[in-house]
Symmetry: C3
Subunit: 427 residues, 3 copies
């Protein structure tokens, strides 16, 4: 090995041992790991890519039985065996299920399915997976009325997902659920603040560490006048249709009220910016959203400016915003640059953004990576993908460039994978 | 050589032998190769760069004789001998004309001119060039009323260029040409569909494999109401000026009518998105258009969503859209990611986009490259430029990363250069 | 060393010796170098990053004494010791002040402070610094009413900063200063042109080589009608509030009048595009502006098109515009691609943009780098950062790719660092 490859390998060895904090996932705490192969192959990355490559969507529909769905999907996945997403499946199968092959085929999937079934029955399976993945804690995505009491707080961290509150208030069912969990009806702005405070108190009491929201491209944040918010809430509560301006008032009113409470409760807010929802009309479930090039963080400045003592951990979906986000982390004190999200969680984009972040943003203001996973098994290949890029970037850019020692590089890796998250979210 | 350079060289050797399908060119089938040096140096890449670097545009005007134009242009090109575009000229001169020098100079151009003149008289010259270039077939850019009967179908594939139909209908001359070739006047929407169907039947009968259109930045695709389209066609046919809204209705009405017919005739549509036409007022011919940063594919979604069983092969002009386009290929079943277009066909951009595409898009949904050339000679250096980047990306990213074998990499190269195009366009 | 590293090192050796022309800085000619450590650590890159990383802004306020400010800032800078910006401070301390450490600490900063104090008293210190930096001349940023007589023309080049003229005319104090320096009041468009001509004559007489202006994202340049400009000037001169449309007329009227004069006086205009001013409300001085992703140069085309014989040296702030800017340099004869500005002056972005520029833009149309510095000491590490990237890019991309010899690469470096600036600005 040339010296640079040796350095990178040494750094990777250290980085693989850092117990990561995974600050964003969709893991369901009541069923956190796979019981069947379908629990793994059903991950939207595979179904959406297979559908995009030509698979009939009926073959991956919920009602299609495993014995029909699995071989069809495995066959279709041959068209995407070049991708990083495919390699996640192979790596986790090898590392967590003893799968010995480099490709998943019509012949070898049944053995993998059996291994998933057997290992899924092992006691303490979630901790076994996390240990093998060098992940210590995993943040959840909780609805405002989730029952958090049963969550295993030793490994999971509740996190309030705010999208439904902010964008779903015109839905009668959402309002009913909010009334139930908050113990009160919301008819005006003051009620809203009280109801949201009740929700946050409940989350705080159950160890929640963060709120999270995804905002569409070009969403204009703006504080709203109390009277306007009262009017919008009143119309929504009466099931009257809102104009676009009233809807914007309602969304911003709820967003700012919630953010004010997050500041008060010291609950950092994770903002994912830029997903264009339901853009592809013929996609499969979870495979209809797209990034939008040309998006900007500028319309979020009123939010960041309005709550200077609340930390916002920000991710973007479009790679055309990589430098913009880094500049926000560089200048804006309450903005932390977080992860490599969704369509962006591909080594080519990670390496590019990570290099610039390590070169230009204070090391204390970077959250390296989060998995966004739906089952714990995916933490291993996704974090390993990130760890490999991190080792390469730190070797080349920090150590070989002469800006730091190998020990400095390891310290930066600890901050990005673990220490910054622990400090920012108090976990 | 270190092992990685050896691997890359082996892959390049294989890749150089793949007979490519070139899905987009402007080669005139009646004069496909150079008869004079001016046919080569007159390529807009050289004239626009030389003009930009200071050459008086009168010296490269059509009426300026060769003996004045050629030495002036050769001199001016010294200012751009650092560029990849310049290297295309040197590589093709060496490989196709036995030119032994690394730079074109006032002293050595006459010998090259003589070689072009002599080799241009060789019988079967077009096939000789294609063989030396490892290119099997070349798509043409045909106007809706081109005579396709004389096209040599053994090496050329007709392709309907739709820009004039979609954007030129207010031009009386265009309407007259359409009436002549379609055998009917167009006075309302139903006529339009019939006339376009006649055009497509003619193209289908002559082996056309594709339609193609270039759309300006932020062009909003949208289906239009029959009555509105009737009104817009009526005004245009009567030579009355259209409002901006009526023009948009007309453009979209024709675009959607043509797209519906492409779906019916199973003719994939190549969409080139993002050229800002006539932006630079003082440019030379073909040197006045520019990319626009901040552009997005979002306004094309109604088109992609509206014709789910038609394949769209999409290219973008701005590098800020590289990831957006890859995400479309990843999610949207009828979008294929195609080539590296125009201002984008530079190794730095190709390498970046290709890496991300190979990492994240099914290998069956990528068309690697097309030449966009005006003379067959340019296929060699442009495809070779692409082949070198492809070898590097596959070596590093597929094989060395452990995601595939050397044989896998060669198979991906076959798909990108040849097999996907043959399957998608049925050629 | 492998052959590629040897080549890069040889090129870097040559490149380090090229006496650069620095075409944009904020160096105050009356106090061009540091007298105290605070003069260096007070550079906004450090204060804004330290503040962003958590430092209380009161500790870096002007009124805070050195003995409190310096240790606090040095401590806070530990959070950013991973950054390139931090490395500028270490490199200049080592090269210009004999500082032997890799990190600045609470223990070692007093010795550095003492060295700054001592070396700041050396006679001819500015030339000593420039010699150590291989920089020959440094452009200044001069207000329209600066006294230019005292400027040391042997090393400094005056440059008219136009922002205040273009955007500050509604400010009564600005108008008074303009009246004083131009020797006339401005009440209508004709006065404006005469007053600006007087300013330019004054600058020309004092060896000015350039005008410069920063334009906000999406600023729409447009020529204005004389009557409209008269009306806008009249209102502004009478201290009446302007509508948004009138303000746009005023800004464009002054911009176009000034640009016409620059064309007449043959004074190239440096345009910095894309800084969103005062975006972050809680920032420290000079730490409140941000780039805006999604920006485009398209709205500047009326300016570039309107003055075809004036050279515009253009920089962008958002990395999403890197390719757009390169394409402008490629096509638009009077656009020169200049430097890597501000949030962009980070090796990851420089390498990416420089690679594409060297591959696609005539070598005569590139200004490699400018320092943007406030004290001469920063020219050394900033230019060295650029020189290292330049050596790497030229080694890999020009020489190893076979497109040029080592001598060609050195010649390109001379053009980018020195010769193009000398030719374009006649210095």
């Amino acid at each position: 090995m040339p010296p640079s490859a040796e350095l990178e390998a040494r750094l990777l060895g250290e980085i693989m041992r850092i117990p990561a904090i995974d600050v964003h996932s969709h893991v369901p705490p009541e069923a956190p790991y796979a019981r069947t192969l379908r629990d793994l192959l059903g991950y939207h990355y595979f179904t959406e890519l297979a559908h995009s490559a030509g698979l009939d969507k009926r073959l991956i529909a919920d009602e299609t039985p495993d014995e029909q769905m699995l071989p069809a999907l495995v066959d279709a996945m041959q068209a995407l065996d070049n991708t990083v997403q495919y390699s996640w499946m192979i790596e986790l199968s090898r590392e967590l299920f003893g799968f010995p092959h480099a490709r998943l085929t019509r012949d070898n999937w049944p053995a993998l399915a059996e291994s998933v079934r057997l290992r899924g029955r092992r006691p303490g399976r979630e901790r076994e997976i996390l240990k093998a993945s060098s992940i210590e804690k995993v943040f959840l995505t909780n609805s405002f009325d989730d029952n958090l009491a049963a969550v295993d707080k030793g490994i999971f961290v509740p996190c309030l997902r705010a999208d439904t509150l902010v964008f779903g208030f015109t839905d009668r069912d959402v309002r009913a659920r909010l009334a139930k969990v908050a113990g009160m009806e919301v008819g005006k702005a003051a009620d809203l603040r009280n109801a949201l405070a009740n929700v946050l108190r409940h989350f705080e009491a159950n160890g929640a560490a963060s709120a999270a929201i995804a905002l569409p491209p070009h969403f204009e944040t703006s504080p709203v006048a109390e009277a306007d918010l009262n009017a919008a809430i009143g119309k929504a509560a009466a099931d009257k249709p809102l104009t676009a301006a009233e809807a914007a008032t309602l969304h911003n009113g709820i967003l700012f009220a919630l953010t004010a409470l997050c500041q008060q409760f010291e609950l950092p807010m994770q903002v994912m910016s830029g997903a264009l929802r339901d853009a592809y009309r013929h996609g499969i479930p979870k495979g209809t959203d797209l990034p939008q090039s040309g998006d900007t963080l500028r319309p979020l400045l009123p939010l960041f400016n309005g709550f200077p003592s609340l930390t916002f951990c920000v991710s973007v979906l479009s790679d055309s915003q990589g430098q913009e986000l880094a500049s926000y982390g560089w200048i804006v004190r309450n903005v932390v640059v977080s992860g490599h999200w969704w369509y962006h969680t591909i080594p080519a984009y990670i390496e590019r953004d990570l290099t610039a972040r390590v070169q230009s943003v204070p090391k204390t203001k970077l959250i390296g990576y989060y998995s966004d996973m739906y089952k714990l098994e995916f933490g291993l290949p996704k974090f390993n993908m990130y760890r490999r890029v991190l080792a390469r970037v730190l070797a080349r850019d920090l150590v070989q460039s002469g800006r730091g020692t190998e020990a400095d590089a390891v310290q930066v890796a600890h901050l990005l994978l673990r220490d910054n998250a622990r400090r920012i979210f108090t976990v």
